[in-house]
């Protein structure tokens, strides 16, 4: 028995040693569409949208060595966002399927919901809710009330990803009525100071706008885009990102864009090919961007941590300290 326990400890130790200790976001090159793979330091994963091709997402998930998915999310029901979720659900049988609650009439959607049902995956209607992806805090931004139910874009589900001081935001194909409603609903401290931001609607003219970006303050923008007939990304969107001072990555030019966030809050962005467009410069640089971010945040009180929107803080998460964990159960500011 002792030998078995020793072997189990060794195996567990090996598994822990293999953990990256970092949050990884991959903005997958799925052509014209969106797919973002989010993996926590503990190996928990979310696939936020799946692009427009079943074969392409399967190849990408295999190529990046994905072993499991805990949750898949459809930002909304358009085919260029949900098609790749069908094989993802079939292959990995995730625990949850996050959705906006509005069913499209397409066959693709029918295939997806059938796959979800067959996999025994629990549907999860988007609402004000926090999902802990291991030590990574994922805040769901549900479509605000009052959006017309016959338009998928304005009912996009957003995700705010927080890991210590790092913040990423992705809001599907939301259009101005939805982002305006979010601006009324959430304080700037929730939406703003975003390190990595997914361009709305592949850089369409009806997505991002100056009032929204003035609050979001994106430092880096990733556009999920491929060959298309729609003019994406539009010159208007690119100009908005330039004015925001953001570095722009495009999956059609840079391929899959990967963001690795360390526990100390620093992050690095690398791309499969090419170089990003640096902020406020019209030329491309020769190297991928490696912006520095502050070290792990220190919260002097739970009130301060709550104001930052990071509570509760678990042991191991950036910002956790024993002084905030009064009952010593490993969870501070409960």
């Amino acid at each position: 028995m002792r030998a078995l326990l020793a072997l189990a400890a060794l195996v567990l130790g090996t598994v822990q040693a293999q953990a990256t200790g970092a949050l990884t976001l991959r903005f997958l090159d799925v052509g014209q569409g969106d797919a973002v793979l989010i993996t926590s330091p503990e190996g928990k994963s979310i696939l936020y949208d799946g692009g427009r091709s079943e074969a392409r997402i399967q190849a990408l998930l295999k190529g990046y060595g994905v072993q499991s998915l805990d949750l898949v999310a459809a930002s909304h029901g358009d085919a260029d966002h949900i098609t790749g979720l069908v094989p993802a659900v079939r292959l990995f049988k995730p625990k949850f399927f996050l959705n906006n609650g509005i069913a499209p009439t397409s066959q693709t959607w029918g295939k997806l919901t059938a796959a979800v049902q067959q996999a025994g995956t629990q549907g999860l209607l988007a609402r004000d809710q926090v999902i802990n992806l291991g030590s990574v805090r994922v805040t769901v931004l549900p479509p605000p009330p009052g959006m017309p139910r016959d338009e998928q874009n304005v009912n996009s589900v957003g995700l705010l990803i927080q890991y210590g001081s790092f913040r990423a935001l992705m809001t599907g194909d939301s259009e101005t009525p939805e982002t305006q409603a979010w601006l009324r609903k959430y304080p700037a401290s929730v939406l703003g100071n975003i390190d990595v931001y997914k361009s709305i609607h592949h850089g369409a003219a009806n997505g991002d706008h100056s009032a929204w970006l003035a609050v979001v303050q994106p430092k880096n923008v990733v556009i999920g885009v491929g060959p298309n007939n729609y003019g994406h990304p539009t010159s208007q969107a690119l100009e908005l990102y330039r004015r925001a001072g953001a570095t722009v990555y495009r999956t059609d030019r840079q391929g899959t864009v990967t963001v690795v966030v360390q526990a100390n809050g620093r992050f690095a962005i690398t791309s499969e090919k090419g170089a990003p467009v640096p902020a406020n410069q019209g030329t491309t640089s020769g190297a991928a961007s490696h912006p520095a971010t502050p070290a792990s945040p220190v919260y002097r009180s739970c009130a301060q941590a709550r104001a930052a929107g990071v509570t509760p803080l678990r042991r191991g998460q950036p910002g956790y300290s024993t002084s905030l964990d009064r009952d010593g159960d490993g969870i501070a500011c409960e």
Binding site: A79, G101, I102, A103, T105, S106, G110, T113, T121, L124
Partner: protein, 96 residues
Amino acid sequence: MSQENSEAADVLSAVWVVDGLEGHLARVELEDGEIVDMALASLPRGVKEGDVLRVVVEGGDFSLELDPAETARRRTSAQAALNALNMAAPGGEIDL
């Protein structure tokens, strides 16, 4: 081939779905699941996202018309399936 069969062979019918509208284009899901872009101007006036289109090819003539009954049927059925999937969703904070 009988005259009846010959006439049937001349009439092809298919159902397409408007997946989304992108400016002056519509993204359309064909019957085999393929997604294509079509000029909005080539579709029936007032077409909206989610609409089902009835396509009829008859003797070389091609016609497209909205099928509101089939649209409604699909909406109801798909919504019921989604509501059932979402029914037992847990509230509060979720730990994955």
